[in-house]
Amino acid sequence: MTRLSWFNVVSLTVGFAFLYIPILILVIYSFNESKLVTVWAGFSTKWYAELMQNEAFLNAAWVTVKVAVFSSTIATVLGTMAAYVLVRGGRFTGRTVFSGMVYAPLVMPEVITGLSLLLLFIGLNLDRGVLTIVLAHATFSMCYVSVVVSARLMTFDRALEEAALDLGASPFEAFRLVTLPIIAPSVIAGWLLAFSLSLDDLVIASFTSGPSATTLPIKIFSAVRLGVSPEINALSTIMIAIVTLGVITASLITKRNAVRQQRDQQLAERTS
């Protein structure tokens, strides 16, 4: 183990403090007895109980989860397809234009994306609700999936697909049986990214949601404007817990895979 110099210790502390003190405060105050957010009055879980009774919040949470699952799934399918065509399609006419167009929404201000989607939905006479939020989220998170998946495809050995074709697989079978299983980790990573982007999106959702469906971030945002309540702290703490759990699970899976890979490799070297 290398010893850290005092400079490193200080920068580490300051950095982490900067990142986590606000979150820590939020978590602590979610267990506050008092209704006043700034005054500590003892430990209690009553705001969590209250939250479970709050129909509006529960509805919004349910809408958010539904939207995230559907939109990230759609985005993953479309984004993977786009990445596949852009990486594999060779130099077809308009390739540069297409790849530029796929990545443009990454840098587009969200307000503009939201506004243009709103205009589209009004033009199409679509009632704003779960469907419109799902479509909007799928649209903007698709580019993120496409970026993640095409990075993996760039390093994918083309000969594997050719081998599959050579052995009589149709191009679709080659994709389904060879390419997809091998790039699955990055497709899943793309899905997770799209899922979390959808979970915390406020701007685009606020353009495309309607009275029939509100997402959690919108709900929280509008509630906070009337004053921060301990209930919202509790809700946020639950969200933090879910996200943390997700991150830990994901890194454990990655770690386990790496360890197994290493063990297999050693086995191969011993037997060779």
Partner: protein, 374 residues
């Protein structure tokens, strides 16, 4: 010998399995294959040999269907396969990189192609087991490709491409990753498999010894062109150009001018102060024509005293390369030319008769070399 009976290329009634008809392949404005015509026959073991970048892999990829010729056509069993996609051709390829599916077990890798056909499950299992036995991989069938050694991987790639019993099997430098011993074993294994299955093999190799060992015919390529297509023995003993002679094995080249000396013999004046050498040739040359005499080191005899031979020159031993079974002497002539002569070390403890700086005589018969005009 099999090669004596098996010579479909000499039989004008034989229909070739593969026919390249004036095939040309361009990548952008770079021409990888130039106007290439070639027939390959059923049950042949055909070797493509040539320097890096001469277009060997490109030819294989056109046969497998991954590249289409820019012009010309390729026929498989009499049918133009230009518009047939790779998955519809009864051609299988063993990739240079093996291209094993990393997420599937050895068993599933071998079964992959069979499962794509309409073969019943029981038959697939029987066929995979047969392939595992043939390539001696039974013990490893449950492992993944990264859990086996390089040589085993290579055998999986071979088993996978053989499993569908294709009409034509393409092997792109299949043994490049193996050590010499294992490579030789596998070469014989390949020949054995080829004899058992009757499949037509086309093999790409960098290794001329490998081509000579396994092939019924060898094609020597250079810059997208076929230089010579012949049996290994013909390529070695009767190359049609200096390029081919030089590419296959070691050779001495004496360049000069021919002068007919009757009886199919030619006197070649090749260096000032040296007597002309006498060489026999079936191809006629005119008086004064520029020719090259290609002569293999093992056909040059080396002796202490001046021998009684048609061609004899004197020189000094410059270098001796001891190769175990053979010794190659590099002899410098008076004019500065260097000629290589090879002798077999038939005795275990041979008294070395020549050493550095010794003056020796080199000699060879008129039929020992070939006269070439290019």
């Amino acid at each position: 010998m099999q090669t004596e009976v098996f010579a479909p290329w000499d039989d004008p009634d034989q229909k070739p399995l593969i026919r390249f008809k004036s095939v040309k392949k361009q990548f952008g404005d770079f021409t990888a294959i130039q106007d290439l015509s070639l027939d390959i026959f059923e049950k042949e073991f055909f070797a493509l040999l040539g320097p890096s970048g001469c277009g060997k892999t490109t030819m294989m990829r056109m046969l497998a269907g991954f590249e289409t010729p820019t012009s010309g056509s390729i026929e498989l069993a009499g049918q133009d396969i230009g518009s047939v996609p790779p998955n519809k051709r009864s051609v299988n390829m063993m990739f240079q990189s093996y291209a094993l599916f990393p997420h599937l077990s050895i068993w599933e890798n071998i079964a992959f192609g069979l499962k794509r056909s309409k073969m019943p499950k029981g038959e697939i299992e029987a066929r995979v087991e047969e392939m595992l036995r043939l390539t001696r991989l039974e013990k490893f069938k449950a492992r993944k490709p990264h859990q086996i050694s390089g040589g085993q991987r290579q055998r999986v790639a071979l088993a996978r491409s053989l499993a569908k019993a294709p009409k034509l099997l393409l092997l792109d430098e299949p043994l490049a990753a193996l050590d010499k011993k294992l490579r030789q074993d596998t070469q014989f294994e390949l020949m054995d498999i080829q004899e058992k299955t009757g499949t037509t093999f086309v093999i790409v190799t960098h290794d001329q010894e490998e081509a000579m060992t396994v092939a019924s015919r060898v094609a020597v390529m250079d810059e997208g062109r076929l230089m010579q297509v012949s049996t290994p023995a013909t390529i070695y003993e009767a190359p049609n150009s200096v390029y081919v002679a030089d590419f296959i094995g070691e050779v001495n080249i004496l360049s000069g001018h021919a002068k007919p000396a009757g009886d199919g013999l030619y006197a070649v004046t090749w260096a000032d102060g040296q007597p002309p050498v006498i060489a026999a040739s079936n191809t006629p040359y005119s008086d004064g024509q520029q020719v090259h005499l290609a002569i293999r080191p093992e056909k040059v005899a080396i002796s202490e005293a001046k021998p009684d031979a048609e061609n004899a020159v004197e020189g000094k031993v410059l270098d001796i390369a001891y190769l175990g079974n053979l010794s190659t002497y590099h002899i410098a002539l008076a004019g500065g030319q260097i000629i290589k002569a090879q002798t077999a070390n038939t005795q275990r403890i041979s008294r070395r008769s020549f050493t550095w700086e010794d003056t020796v005589w080199l000699s060879w018969t008129p039929t020992a070399g070939v006269l070439l005009d290019q």
